[in-house]
Symmetry: C2
Subunit: 240 residues, 2 copies
Amino acid sequence: MSKIPVIEIFGPTIQGEGAVIGVKTMFVRTYGCDYRCGWCDSAFTWDGSAKDKVQLMEPEAILNELLDLAGDNFDCVTISGGNPALIGESMADFVKLLHERGIQAAIETQGSRWQDWFYDIDVLTISPKPPSSGMVTDWEKLDDIINRLRLAGKAAHSLKVVVFNEEDFAYARNVHRRYPEIPMYLQPGNEDVTEPGDISARLLGRLEWLFNLVIADPAMNRVRVLPQLHALIWHNKRGK
Amino acid sequence: MSKIPVIEIFGPTIQGEGAVIGVKTMFVRTYGCDYRCGWCDSAFTWDGSAKDKVQLMEPEAILNELLDLAGDNFDCVTISGGNPALIGESMADFVKLLHERGIQAAIETQGSRWQDWFYDIDVLTISPKPPSSGMVTDWEKLDDIINRLRLAGKAAHSLKVVVFNEEDFAYARNVHRRYPEIPMYLQPGNEDVTEPGDISARLLGRLEWLFNLVIADPAMNRVRVLPQLHALIWHNKRGK
């Protein structure tokens, strides 16, 4: 059985963002990304700084570590990265193992790569990156991913765009106009992911700013604006 | 056409809590309640202090005021109270008017009264009140409401319990065990709804407390814990 490059396993904690905000979850963070976002809050998954902490793990071993950590105290596992969509068959096997135990699989990916196991994900969040990231969206690729999911008509999927500035907001509007029927989440960006101490006042200020942009814009009547609850509570601490 | 007792109409703003947290919405607040919760954040809807501000309005007049306030800058109207379920035929008419314009109707009620128009609500939140409220849940009535919705199989409904202390948390566990298939939201209570100024640090402290209770409890693997975003941003200000 092929292996998954894992850099962090932690929980149970509360999912702080997106479509299942507020739900108890375990986290499995995979190593490796095809992007290099300037403001990435998990740059250790691709910048080499934590390369010595990567473990190549079989799906069964990941499940065992989750069970060791939390017993029966979770029904959801969030697979994050990096970009977990870089991983093929071994991720399909891991998701199958979770489902055999009645555990939900939630995943977030930027929409730059397709994997057939997307069809099996319970909560699939596609999060294309806005201009402030420094990345360029491959719209043809994103269209292809959205269309495959649309045709399958079964994956619970949503879009999420992190917004740092007005240019990002305009990008989010374009994404929403391009895929109007897909539930869309906006999230204010965390402008300093290394600042120590309590950053909640800064983050709430950015949430209010984004609320006001959405409130004023009739093209955004159906999007949802959500903070990162984990960052409001646990700030920039890793593993929460 | 019969009339609706209205005490506040405002928006557009962002829905701060529950199943559609983060979505842009208008608010219509009805007057009158069959409950007297000790910690009610809208006691002016029933304690007589704002009785002179109540207007008896026809559904068409409410819709016109919403359109005057916001034009086409909303797709959702949240009907809150007081207890909007005290209102019969005129509320059915109002919801019909909204739907004719493609506007969603969201409503929150404590589950003490049934109305046939519940079937037509797009986002129906049933929020039974825990012991700290001083109210006593009529379980037979609540069962009846949940069962009618279950049999209809079409209303998008969820349960929400506000939690102030461990006794409330035990109550929420009971509600979740009684209706396990219904999406369930927990929300930390705001212990001082008149405190002026920035109350976000206090509210985030209570959110962390509730996160930790849920994280530790395998019976709560599927509930969702959410703050009141509007209170984090706009504090105890009315009309936001």
